[in-house]
């Protein structure tokens, strides 16, 4: 009898049950005490009407998102229906990136750096200009390769259609989050009512930035030849000089003269953490986290190790961080550095891990020494 009851209980608790999971309201940057309950409810109603819930995402016509892919990613884990995977986001991503894509899932507190918060719509590693959104190909790249040196793993072993669904869902969370931020601003600061027109207006602005990404890809000019050792050495040498040239490139200010990331003394923060400065910690899901300039001698390249990737990091900087842009952009058509100079820096940076002084920590092979 006990066993039967247990089986009944356990049978009813598997898989697809009505879930009451909801997106977390985003009031970061505002004093929560200044936002009334009516305002919160108004905001929730608005976002649910236009975006749905974590279990049932809604695709507003203008967003251009694929509803089928969103259905695959949404919902509780393992809630597969008729052979179609569901719950992909919650199974693979939510415990770090959070149900709302806020980068504050339960595991986030333990990670350094924190997982990405999609809601401001700022992404670091992409092929586009600094202020632009990533392209779909950029997001696919991140999912395929992971982000080396962080807790973001490679998801290359998932099926391609699962990756597509996750990319779509991340885009959805970002669009939703950024729209919500705009709406909060209008609701709390301007005390506007969130009518349909207001919401569509903000939503359209956000969606436009995503649509614009494809036209914002940085295509570097052809790289000067580095096929012979002499050419490569010359490029590296030029890059080294540029690296050390304080006024022109500013590299040493943060990365230090040896590229170890020990250049600056001041504490720096990325955009996601800057808003926490001088605000009560209780207003935010995660404590403030410092940003450290990259140690270039480790051979770990978060945004990818192709020369192309390094070029883009220097050209556009890293959006959301203190890494500035050095190439031409819509706001600065001339750019601080010429393309050839950037290629020299790329060669220098890529050569740093192979210098002798970079390789202190090579463990001895067990087969060669008889140690316990």
């Amino acid at each position: 009898m006990c066993v039967a009851a247990l089986v009944a209980v356990s049978g009813g608790c598997t898989g697809s049950v009505e879930s009451d999971v909801r997106f977390r309201i985003n009031l970061e940057g505002f004093n929560p005490a200044e936002v009334s309950t009516e305002q919160r409810q108004h905001l929730v109603n608005a976002t649910v009407a236009f975006f749905g819930t974590p279990d049932e995402p809604y695709v507003f016509d203008g967003t251009g998102l694929d509803a089928k892919k969103l259905q695959m990613a949404a919902g509780p884990s393992w809630s597969d229906e008729e052979g179609v995977h569901r719950g992909l986001y919650r199974k693979h991503c939510a415990h770090c990136h959070g149900i709302s894509g806020d980068g504050a899932g339960p595991t986030a507190i333990f990670l350094n750096p924190y997982p990405r918060d999609y809601r401001p719509g700022i992404f670091k590693f992409k092929s586009t200009q600094r202020a632009s959104k990533p392209t779909t190909a950029d997001m696919r790249r991140i999912l395929h390769h992971g982000i080396p040196g962080t807790a973001m793993p490679s998801f290359a072993l998932l099926h391609e259609d699962e990756i597509d669904a996750l990319i779509e869902y991340v885009k959805y969370l970002s669009i939703r989050g950024q729209t919500e931020q705009m709406l909060v601003s209008r609701l709390v600061e301007a005390d506007e009512e969130l009518t349909r027109d207001v919401i569509v207006e903000e939503l359209t602005l956000v969606v436009d930035t995503w649509n614009e990404a494809e036209s914002s890809i940085i295509t570097p000019p052809e790289r000067p030849p580095v096929d012979t050792p002499a050419q490569l050495a010359a490029s590296i040498d030029a890059g080294h000089k540029l690296f050390l040239a304080k006024e022109k490139s500013q590299c040493v200010n943060c990365h230090g003269p040896t590229g170890l990331g020990d250049g600056g003394d001041d504490k720096v923060y990325d955009d996601w953490n800057k808003i926490k400065l001088d605000k009560p910690a209780a207003d935010f899901a995660l404590p403030i986290q410092r940003l450290l300039p990259r140690n270039l001698r480790l051979g770990i390249y978060r945004g990818g190790r192709r020369p192309l990737d390094i070029y883009r990091r220097i050209h556009a900087g890293i959006n959301g961080t203190q890494m500035p842009e050095f190439g031409p952009s819509p706001s600065n058509p001339k750019g601080a550095l010429k393309a050839e100079e950037i290629w020299n820096l790329v060669d220098y940076v890529l050569s740093l891990p192979y210098e002798k002084s970079s390789r202190v920590h090579e463990p001895a092979s067990v087969a060669q020494r008889a140690r316990f």
Partner: protein
């Protein structure tokens, strides 16, 4: 009560053996073995299973029989006032001891081959386990690890078919364990050590690479894949990876999608 209890105890060997038989004939078995030496492990396992199986059935059977036979409420005989039997003690000390020593010696060679005799060759690939992925580094065209032409990849380990493979196993942070179920290979990756792991894969295909030592919250997520392919396919794949890694321009759209 004695009868009921003895039925329970009789059920142990009967259901035990029955369950094992059912499991083995219904798809619950060792994963497919594609290695050259893995069969020695499987064989050793079944050999020990046969020996212990006999002991299991015998001792459990005797136990259940005694529970049945010597029920105090039904058994009319007086209890035997026996404190032991010297000869019996000698026999059941020496026989198990000899058996155990035999098993020990029988398997020494398999262990030595698996762990103590690395092939004399340069590593095919360096695998650095880190939280929570397998970082792979193949020596490039110059055949040496640690140079500019190394091919870097993650999680997706390719090896050529029917070739001795030597993996140089490292860890960047905590303990991990390099477990290839289909090759009967397992070796902990220890930070501060570089440990050789060797195998030879005889069947093309894709197989799981599992982390087998708790390494943190993402231990379950540390999934890798071993792809065994012909030497030509392997070389082509490696070359393609190197090309992609050296890219100074975006690949055309179709190629970009298949890149991984």
């Amino acid at each position: 009560m004695g009868k009921l209890a003895s039925l329970f105890f009789f059920a142990v060997p009967i259901v035990g053996v029955g369950f094992c038989y059912w499991a083995l004939t219904n798809g619950y078995n060792f994963p497919v073995d594609i290695s050259v030496t893995g069969h020695r492990i499987d064989h050793l396992f079944w050999f020990i299973a046969a020996l212990t199986g006999v002991v299991f059935i015998a001792t459990e059977g005797v136990l259940a029989w005694f529970v049945w036979r010597y029920d105090g409420s039904r058994n009319p005989d007086a209890a035997k006032f026996a404190h032991g039997n010297h000869n019996l003690e000698v026999v059941w000390t020496i026989v198990p001891a000899a058996t155990l020593v035999f098993i020990a010696i029988y398997q020494m060679n398999a262990w030595a081959d698996a762990k103590m005799r690395p092939p004399d060759m340069d590593p095919t690939v360096e695998v650095t386990a880190r939280q929570f992925e397998w970082r792979l580094r193949y020596p490039g065209a110059d055949g040496k690890l640690g140079t500019r032409d190394d091919v870097h990849h993650v999680n997706d380990l390719h090896v050529p078919l029917d070739t001795e493979i030597l993996v140089s196993l490292k860890s960047a942070d905590v303990l991990h364990s390099f477990f290839l179920p289909n090759l009967r290979v397992k070796q902990d990756a220890v930070p501060g050590m570089k440990i050789p792991v060797w195998f030879r894969a005889m069947e093309p295909g894709t197989y799981d690479l599992v982390c087998a030592e708790l390494c943190g919250w993402g231990h379950y997520k540390m999934k890798g894949r071993l792809t065994v392919e012909s030497r030509e396919d392997f070389e082509a794949w490696l070359a393609k990876k190197y090309q992609e890694q050296s890219a100074t321009q975006d690949a055309p759209a179709e190629e970009a999608k298949s890149e991984e």
